[in-house]
């Protein structure tokens, strides 16, 4: 917690307006506004690099380290970083003097002089903030020819690759990890030219308390942090005629994949996505949404079982693997409260390699399950030993992020925009609106409440479907839901820092709830670490969330237990929800992990 740069709560009440002049235009802004904010109000653009403001998520990186946004203020001998300098009354600011412009360009030249400059073969080519900045500032030469900083690449984890040679030390990852997520994996180490963003004791990422939520990757301006690329393995499996490859797609990716192909944010591309996966050669394309419905049925059953048998409450949702790893590291004393349900894609894998394999007459060992997820933590999750059954192997064999899938679609030469919609294959392709909303904060608990409400109050002819009191973007939300004369106390947290607050209160006995949903990523899976880069734009995340609820509203069935294929799965294979077979295939256990 070194940077002291998390946004404080907005102060209530009247704000003083102060007047300043920016490039000869008068601006009136609330006291405390930065020069950068004031400049925006008068249409003046100041280039930035380290700065990042996702105010609604309390993710504000205001460390002033890159020194790109420097401006001149009359009466000051030096230049000021506009991102982190508050305007003062009657301040006269010039953002585009030759001195300011030259400083900015030289700052970028300095970055480039210390950068691998392998843009043509870089993961972030054409999607890199440093590259864009160099283009914007018209950098045409790099006068400084000294050697650049060299260090090793860390590809130890199954989720995140760290390449510190491409790091610009903007500290966004540090702020995100230490202050927003409160995981604290990153810190700068060494000094001078050798300063590097590193882990404690230079531990490989795999050995740290990293939850692999991937939020650091989401905010990294360059390719210093990227996802582990599993596309080669997936191509190899898909092209192997002896292997039956099944793709499953997460709820949150159908509203984001289109962004990678230039479509407006929030475009639903479910049909095109299915068509693309089929063209890529997957033998079957199925829906993780099916498994989300299955999760709801299991989790609601577990919840009712705990209520009826005096089990420990609250029950905590367990579909977010980053959150699961977080509680294992940070709150090992609370490991009995998360639901034992596997996450949906793992349930899917387990069912695919048993029930589906039997239906298809396939040898489970010859089936590979590929999950396309908005998430990097799922890559680690898929490697967990406890999520492996013999002889079928891992429930899920490969996990691709939304970004990786988009790359593979491009690689395969598929014209995504021109694809005709196709439908998921049968058996495990049907889903309800309840499954769709898994993709955003509050969705899992709302889906569970929809089913629990129906079960607890079977006589009610028109039960409530939309529990709007559970929706919103506040980091921690509480709501009470009245069902059949009972009041369920529910809490929702997104972002691990919020989760920590909630868990601390529960551990210390300061709060009690019946059920809690936690998502590691701010905004839930629509803001997942494997999603298309949101460009530090909060509106992108909000639009994705709206698209999720829109898709839910359009679905003919909106409660998980109404899913016909799920009913059939229980009748033909699993038996009772939360029963013996379900336990064997659909539930898991957790382990205590070290805090560092």
């Amino acid at each position: 917690m070194t940077n002291g740069n998390t946004a404080e709560n907005d102060t209530a009440g009247a704000v003083n307006l102060i007047t300043c002049t920016i490039n000869n235009v008068e601006a009136r802004v609330p006291e405390g506004s930065t020069i950068l904010e004031a400049a925006k109000t008068v249409g003046v653009h100041i280039p930035t690099l380290c700065h990042l403001d996702l105010h609604d998520l309390k993710m504000v990186n205001q460390v002033g380290t890159c020194r790109v946004c420097m401006v001149e203020a009359e009466g000051r001998w030096n230049l000021l970083p506009s991102c982190s300098t508050a305007v003062t009354q009657n301040m006269v600011i010039h953002t585009n003097t030759p001195r300011a412009v030259r400083s900015r360009r030289i700052m970028v030249e300095l970055f480039l002089s210390n950068h691998p400059k392998e843009c043509l073969i870089c993961e972030r080519n054409q999607n890199c903030e440093l590259q864009s900045l160099a283009a914007e500032l018209g950098v045409r030469e790099i006068r400084y020819t000294g050697p650049r900083f060299k260090t090793h690449k860390d590809s130890s984890s199954y989720s995140i690759v760290r390449n510190a040679e491409k790091c610009v030390l903007c500290r966004r990852c540090e702020t995100m990890c230490n202050e927003v997520q409160t995981v604290g994996v990153y810190s700068t180490v060494h000094r001078g030219f050798d300063t590097v963003m590193g882990t404690a004791f230079d531990l490989p990422m795999l050995d740290t308390a990293c939850t692999f939520c991937g939020q650091c990757v989401s905010v990294c301006p360059t390719a210093a942090l990227t996802e582990t690329d599993d596309s080669e393995e997936v191509w190899a499996a898909v092209s192997n005629p002896d292997i039956f490859v099944i793709a499953q797609t997460a709820p949150a990716i159908r509203v984001t994949l289109g962004e990678e192909f230039g479509m407006p944010v929030g475009t639903q591309v479910t049909g095109k996505m299915v068509a693309a996966l089929k063209k890529m050669g997957f033998d079957m394309v199925l829906d993780t949404d099916f498994a989300a419905d299955l999760t709801v049925v299991e989790e609601a059953s577990e919840f009712m079982h705990r209520m009826e048998h005096g089990g420990r409450l609250p029950i905590l949702t367990s579909c977010c693997p980053a959150w699961v790893k977080f509680i294992e590291h940070q709150f090992p004393e609370l490991l009995d409260i998360p639901s034992t349900c596997k996450s949906p894609h793992e349930m899917f894998g387990a069912v695919a390699k048993s029930y589906l394999a039997r239906k298809l007459g396939k040898d489970p060992a010859k089936i590979k399950v590929v999950s396309v997820m908005p998430c990097l933590a799922k890559k680690f999750e898929a490697r967990r030993e406890e999520l492996t059954e013999e002889p079928a192997g891992a429930d899920v064999d490969y996990v691709l992020s939304t970004r990786e899938l988009a790359r593979m679609i491009r690689e395969a030469g598929i014209n995504f925009g021109a694809l005709r919609d196709e439908s998921f294959d049968d058996v495990m392709g049907e889903s309800t609106g309840a499954a769709v909303i898994f993709g955003t904060t509050g969705g899992v608990i709302e889906a569970a409440v929809r089913t629990a409400a129906a079960w607890l109050d079977p006589e009610n002819p028109s039960p409530v479907i939309d529990f709007k009191q559970l929706r919103g973007i506040d980091g921690i939300r509480e709501a009470e839901v009245a069902v059949a004369g009972k009041t369920l106390k529910i809490a929702i947290a997104h972002g691990l820092g919020n989760a920590r607050k909630l868990l601390t209160a529960i551990r210390d006995g300061e709060a009690s709830y019946d059920a809690i949903e936690i998502m590691a990523c701010p905004m839930g899976c629509v803001g997942g670490g494997g999603q298309p880069y949101h460009g530090n734009n909060m509106e992108v995340l909000k639009a994705r969330m709206e698209a999720i609820f829109k898709e839910d509203a359009e679905k003919p069935l909106r409660r998980s237990h109404e899913n016909g294929q799920i009913k059939r799965l229980y009748e033909e294979f699993l038996g009772e929800p939360y029963g013996e077979k379900a336990h064997e295939l659909l539930h898991t256990h957790y382990q205590k992990r070290e805090q560092i």
């Binding site: 070194t2 790109v68 970083p81 210390n114």
Partner: protein, 489 residues
């Protein structure tokens, strides 16, 4: 002129006079009288007012008015406030603070208690570098003795005022002498500067209002309280009252600490107090302010020493380093030497200091090894100005001073390096060439036998020759030749 040659001892008043390990010695010199006066005869506002009127300015380098600092932290709202002492004296060759802490620790403790009384703080912290074990030991002893006598701790002098002081040992990072880095360090964080504002007076240690002053600044306070601000103002200049301690070093005859009234000309310090240049050589420049200070050439030696004049010349007061250079010193080499220090000590937080200083250093290395061109001087100037203008804290903002000031005052010397590939002061080894003068060589073979790369050839009793292509310029032949037949150019 007195025996002191114009020196006045205020900060160093007790150093060498009292036994620093005996509180009685300090008290006998009027020690803790100022504290009693501050507690029983003055209100906090009066204390601050006295310090303000004295015109005392921060002796750590920047020269911020001390009284104003006290006033700001006094006015800041806060349930808890801190008084900190910056004893992280890190400039190479500087030992002003060390001498005060080792020779007169109570003068700092007493001043901190007075400051606490003035701003409403009850906790003092001295951040001292661990490389000063004797100072640490004496401070600890002094704290213990003061606590025993009720001059520190709870209910000081029976007044009901509580104030405790503890030590925090630094871990060796130069940047921790920067006040906000120092606070991060005390908080267990990485020694990195914070963005200001907020200033420490508003949100300092643990985000609480904090007053932080340097050792020497505190060492002046008690005398000001005791003798009044008018007394203090009789020394020094209008804008820089009082005295300043300098660590005089380099090519002067008398090296060591000096304490002089502000406004004394540099020439007086060097020639009268310092006793002139060693070996009758010629004064070339004075480097003031530690590694991030600038070099002031001989023609400006009549400049009075105060904060503004030094800045106007492209240098700084800094904490009081003063290194005298003579004609044997190469100014490019000197710039490179100091920049190497600051570049290594950069915390790496901001781009200009982290990468810019390294690039500046590389350009200097190019010039001192014969690879430079005139264009490099333009790059040095431009980049140096940008590092100064854009860096986050005082370290980066002042690190290019040695480069920029030498470029300004010793441009010809740079030109000789880049155009003729020659170092007039013969300091840049890579630019030197060693020759054997045939008229002096006696053919004794000593040089050839001692040459580590065997690049000297010649028969016994005949003139020897150095193979320039293989010579590594190690200077061995030059040192070994019994008849001084080797010359370097």
């Amino acid at each position: 002129m007195s025996d002191n040659y114009g020196q006045v001892r205020i900060a160093l008043r007790n150093c060498g006079v009292i036994d620093p390990e005996k509180i009685g010695d300090y008290i006998a010199q009027g020690g803790y009288d100022a504290l009693a006066k501050a507690i029983f005869e003055m209100t906090p506002a009066e204390i601050i007012d006295t310090v303000k009127k004295s015109g005392l300015r921060g002796r750590g380098g920047a020269g911020f008015p001390t009284g104003l600092k006290w006033e700001l932290s006094g006015k800041s709202e806060g349930d808890e406030k801190y008084v900190m002492c910056n004893a992280d004296e890190g400039d190479p060759g500087a030992f002003m603070d060390r001498s005060i802490l080792e020779g007169d620790p109570h003068s700092v403790l007493e001043a901190m208690v007075i400051c606490g009384r003035a701003i409403g703080a009850r906790q003092g912290i001295i951040y001292i570098r661990a490389e000063y074990p004797l100072a640490v030991k004496r401070l600890q002893k002094a704290i213990g003795e003061a606590e025993e006598l009720g001059l520190l701790g709870d209910d000081i002098l029976g007044s009901g005022f509580d104030f405790g002081i503890r030590l925090y040992l630094g871990a060796g990072a130069f940047v921790c002498g920067e006040e906000t880095s120092l606070m991060n360090s005390v908080q267990g964080g990485r020694g990195e500067p914070r963005i200001k504002p907020p200033f420490p007076a508003q949100a300092g240690l643990w985000k609480k209002p904090t007053n932080i002053n340097n050792v020497e600044t505190y060492a002046n306070v008690c005398r000001i309280i005791l003798n009044g601000w008018e007394w203090f103002r009789q020394f020094g200049t209008e804008k820089s009252p009082g005295t300043k301690v300098f660590a005089l070093a380099g090519k002067v005859n008398n090296v060591g600490l000096v304490e002089v009234p502000m406004g004394m000309p540099l020439r007086h310090i060097i020639e009268v107090i310092g006793g002139g240049i060693q070996n009758g050589r010629k004064l070339k420049a004075v480097q003031t302010g530690g590694p991030s200070g600038g070099c002031i050439p001989e023609e400006h030696m009549d400049t009075p020493v105060d904060y503004e004049s030094l800045v106007a010349l492209g240098s700084i007061m800094g904490s009081g380093g003063m290194i005298v250079l003579d004609e044997d010193d190469c100014m490019v080499n000197i710039a490179q030497f100091y920049l190497k220090f600051t570049a290594e000590e950069s915390c790496g937080k901001c781009t200009p200091c982290r990468i810019g200083n390294r690039r500046l250093l590389e350009i200097l290395e190019k010039i001192t090894t014969g690879g430079g061109a005139e264009k490099d001087m333009i790059d040095l100037d431009e980049l140096g100005n940008i590092v100064r203008d854009c860096s986050l804290c005082g370290l980066g903002q002042s690190s290019p001073n040695p480069v920029l000031s030498t470029l300004k005052y010793f441009r010809d010397e740079y030109l000789v390096h880049v155009n003729d590939k020659r170092c007039p002061s013969k300091r840049c080894t890579a630019l030197l060439r060693y020759f054997i003068m045939p008229e002096k060589c006696i053919g004794c073979t000593v040089c050839a036998r001692n040459c580590p790369v065997s690049c000297i050839s010649g028969e016994r009793k005949k003139t020897h020759v150095i193979d320039q292509a293989r010579c590594i310029k190690c200077n061995t032949c030059y040192e070994k030749c019994p008849v001084n037949a080797i010359t370097k150019e």
